[in-house]
Amino acid sequence: MRAETKVGLLFLTTIVVLIGFGYFIGALNPFSNTHELNVMYNFAGGIEEGSPVRVMGIKVGKVSKIEFDPSYRSPSGEEVKLKLRIQIDKAAWSTVRQDSKFFINLAGVIGEKFLEISPGSSSAGELTPDAFVRGEDPPRVDQLISQSYGLAGKLIEIVEKNEGSASNLIGQLDKLVTNFNKTLALMDKTSKNPEVSRLVDNAVKISDDLSYLTGQLRTKKAEESFALMHKLLFRMENLDKEAIKKFLQEEGIRARMF
C-alpha cells in the first residue's frame, strides 16, 4: 500500500473518531429528536448552557441557551427577564403538561445544577413546542446568608448593649435555681420527718372521719331527722315571747325569757 493511501486512511479514521467523540459528548447530534421550550426565570441560580433537564429524575434534554429577554411579560403581568431555552426529547414531551413545574435543583457531591420538570396532571393540556412557561425561581441562598449576617450582627449588638443586664439576669437566674434546689431539698427532708408524718397521718384520719360523718348525714334517717327539725322550728316560729310568758305565768312559773 502506498504511503498516500495509508495517510488517507489514517486521516479518515481520525475524522470518524472526532465525529464519534462529538456525538458522545453531545456536541454533535444529527439524529436529534427534540422539542424546544422557553422557561422564564428571574433568578437562574447558577445553571449553565448544557446543564441537563430531567423529568422524574431521568435526563431528557439539556439547556441549550440562556439569554435575557427584557420585552417578555408573563400572562399575569409579571416582568420575567431571563429566558432558558431547553430541549426535551420527544419521548418525554407528553409528560410535560401545562401545569408542570420547572425547578432548578442541585445534584451530586459537586453540586451540579439541573432543571427538574415535575410532570403535570394528565387533565392539563400538552404544551406546544416553543411555548413560554414560568419557572419556579430557586431560593436565593446568597441573600439568605447575607440576611443571616445582618441578624447575627443585630444579635451581637443587643448582647453587647445589654451586657450588664444580661449578666445580672443570668446571676439572678442562677440564684433562683440555687434557692429552688434548696427548697426542694428542704421539702424532701421534711417529708421524711416522723412528726410531719404523724401530722399527715392524723390529717388523713380526720379527713376519713369527716368523710364518714358527711356520709352519715347523707343517709335517709338523717334526712328525715333534718326534715322533722325543720318542721318543728317552722311551728315554733309563730310563738312569741309574750304568749310563752303568759303561759308560764299561768302555770306559776316565773321565768326570764330571751
Partner: protein
C-alpha cells in the same frame, strides 16, 4: 534566538511558494503520523491508566470520595495529558530524526549542494516536514485523546467500579467539545515547534558524528522545553478566553 526566529520567518514565507512537493509531504506525514500511531497508542494508554488510578487514590485521601474521578481524569486527559505526552514522544522520535537527518546533510555539504542546484533548502527540507508535523500532530492528538479516554474508561470499569455509562456521564459534566478543540490547537502548535527546532539545530550542526549527536540531543531538549513552555502559555490563554 534571532537565527531561530529568522528560520521561522523564512519557513512561513516559503510555505505558499512553489514548487509544492506533495510526495515529500505525504512521505513525511506517513513517517510522522502513521508510523508513530502504535507507539503513541501504547504510551498514552499507560499514561491514562496511571492518571485515573492516581486520581482515584488521591481523591480518596483528600475528600474520601472518588465519584468525580472519571470526569476529572477525562478533563485532565483532554486538556493536557494526551497531547503533551504525544508531543514529547514526537520530539524524541520525529524531532531527533529530523535533527539527525538535516544535521548529516549539513555536515556532508548536501545542503550546500542543494543551494548550488538552485533549490532553497528551507523550502525543500523544512516546509514539507513542518506541514506534515502540524497535520500529523493534530491527527495523533485526536487518536491519543480517544485512546486515553478508552483506556481510562476501561480502568475505571475494571478497577474502580465505574461503568462506561457512568464514565461518559461524568465526562459530560466536566468536559466539552471546546476542551477537545483546545487540545487540537495545542497539538498543532507543538507540531509547529518540533520540526522548526529540530531543523534549526540540524542546520547549525557542528562537523563530525559527534556534532550530529550533539545537535540531536540539543534539539530534543530544546523542543521538550519549548513544548512545556508553550503548553503553559496556551493553557493560560485558554483560561483567559474562557473566563
Amino acid at each position: 534566538m534571532t537565527a531561530f526566529l529568522a528560520l521561522v520567518a523564512e519557513t512561513l514565507r516559503e510555505i505558499p511558494r512553489r514548487p509544492y512537493r506533495p510526495s515529500e509531504f505525504f512521505k513525511q506525514l506517513h513517517f510522522v503520523a502513521n508510523q508513530s500511531v502504535p507507539m503513541v497508542i501504547f504510551c498514552v494508554c499507560f499514561a491514562a491508566m496511571v492518571t485515573i488510578l492516581e486520581s482515584s487514590f488521591h481523591m480518596k485521601i483528600v475528600i474520601q470520595n472518588d465519584s468525580m474521578v472519571p470526569g476529572f481524569a477525562a478533563m485532565l486527559i483532554l486538556r493536557e495529558l494526551a497531547v503533551v505526552v504525544t508531543a514529547l514522544l514526537m520530539t524524541s522520535r520525529v524531532g531527533a530524526g529530523l535533527a539527525a537527518e538535516v544535521g548529516t546533510m549539513a555536515i556532508t555539504e548536501q545542503i550546500d549542494a542543494l543551494k548550488m542546484l538552485g533549490i532553497r533548502p528551507v523550502q525543500y527540507l523544512v516546509v514539507p516536514r513542518l506541514l506534515a508535523c502540524v497535520i500529523g500532530m493534530v491527527m495523533l492528538g485526536i487518536i491519543a485523546n480517544i485512546t486515553c479516554l478508552v483506556a481510562a474508561m476501561w480502568v475505571s470499569d475494571f478497577y474502580l467500579g465505574f461503568a462506561p455509562g457512568t464514565f461518559i456521564t461524568s465526562m459530560n459534566r466536566f468536559v466539552g467539545m471546546s476542551d477537545f478543540l483546545g487540545a487540537l490547537v495545542k497539538a498543532a502548535c507543538f507540531g509547529f515547534i518540533i520540526p522548526l527546532v529540530s531543523c534549526y539545530f540540524g542546520f547549525n550542526c557542528e562537523k563530525g558524528a559527534e556534532g550530529v549527536g550533539r545537535a540531536t540531543t540539543k534539539s530534543v531538549v530544546a523542543s521538550s522545553v519549548a513544548i512545556l513552555v508553550v503548553d503553559f502559555l496556551l493553557a493560560y490563554l485558554f483560561s483567559i478566553l474562557k473566563a
